[in-house]
């Protein structure tokens, strides 16, 4: 019996594609965010609220929306005249770098400020795959319970910001905001937390400010 040492990262092809996307967007000074949440937490609702506000701010953006089978989310955004490309992943529970590269080939990148990737609803798998984004955004909601940060630490560790949606439901659900925020900071001490409600609009402006800051920083970066 013999042993051959390999020591190879099995995600190397995905990571190589992600690096190419990252350098291409760096060259064109386009900020890309990868929005990850469980199904029903409010990713599409947030984009429905934030999209028109980003337009009003004069920000040029495109949305890549991931779904296993349907194009319902893309249709919701298209109804608001938001620029959107649908990514169907089939049975895959995440978007990988190859799918993003294919979707971006349908988009005019020149002149864009922002690419928003709405990943497939899942707190586990999307966090594993680098898609060339600048930042991951974790979206949680009060309806899911306050213990999710410790249950899904990889996503929280890799995210720059955590949005806590559905604050309008706080009086109806057993969600302990202090516990959730403490858990987020325990798992990722540097994480920024934004409380919001896509229903009432509370906190959406804070998210827009964060996006504007990130775009500004990207534009100021040296290529």
């Amino acid at each position: 019996m013999a042993f051959k040492v390999i020591k190879e990262n099995i995600l190397k092809d995905n990571d190589k594609t992600a690096s190419k996307i990252r350098s291409s967007l760096k060259e064109k000074k386009v900020f890309m965010m990868n929005m990850i949440s469980s199904p029903g937490a409010g990713k599409t609702s947030l984009l429905e609220k934030a999209g028109p506000l980003l337009k009003k701010e004069g920000i040029s953006f495109t949305i890549l929306t991931g779904d296993c089978f349907t194009s319902r989310d893309a249709e919701r955004m298209d109804a608001l005249s938001l620029p959107v490309v649908q990514i169907n992943t089939g049975n895959a529970c995440h978007i990988d770098a190859g799918l993003v590269r294919a979707a971006l080939s349908n988009v005019e990148i020149d002149g864009l400020d922002l690419v928003i990737v709405e990943n497939v609803g899942n707190l586990v798998c999307p966090a594993e795959f680098d898609i060339g984004e600048d930042e991951k955004v974790a979206l949680l909601s009060t309806a899911e319970g306050h213990d999710k940060p410790e249950k899904y630490p990889l996503l929280i560790q890799e995210s720059e910001v955590a949005l806590i949606n559905k604050t309008d439901l706080l009086e109806h659900v057993d969600f302990d905001m202090r516990y959730a925020e403490k858990s987020l900071c325990t798992v990722n001490p540097g994480i920024k937390i934004i409380r919001m409600s896509c229903k009432t609009g509370e906190g959406i402006d804070n998210f827009i400010e964060w996006v504007k800051d990130k775009i500004k920083t990207k534009k100021e970066q040296k290529v």
């Binding site: 051959k4 040492v5 390999i6 990262n9 099995i10 895959a92 560790q157």
Partner: protein, 80 residues
């Protein structure tokens, strides 16, 4: 199910590694996976059994070693 996607990526690397005249049949593949990757080793081992692969890998078993608190996804090597 991201285990299948990961196994497909792993097999594409292995197919190249076993393209070596001194390797006739691979007995075992050693894979190191970090605990934070939320992998279920049994699902990965089962996916490996069923995914199309080189004839030299046909009877190989996948041995998944979970690293506490880690983020690895590394093929350590093959026994043949």
């Amino acid at each position: 199910m991201h285990e299948m996607k990961l196994i497909e990526s792993m097999v594409s690397i292995l197919n190249k590694e076993v393209d070596d005249v001194s390797i006739h049949e691979v007995k075992e593949v050693h894979l190191e996976v970090g605990e934070l990757r939320y992998i279920v080793p049994e699902i990965m081992e089962n996916c490996f059994k069923h995914v199309p692969k080189s004839i030299k890998l046909k009877n190989a078993k996948l041995k998944v070693m979970v690293v506490p608190g880690g983020k690895e996804f590394t093929i350590k090597g093959i026994e043949y």
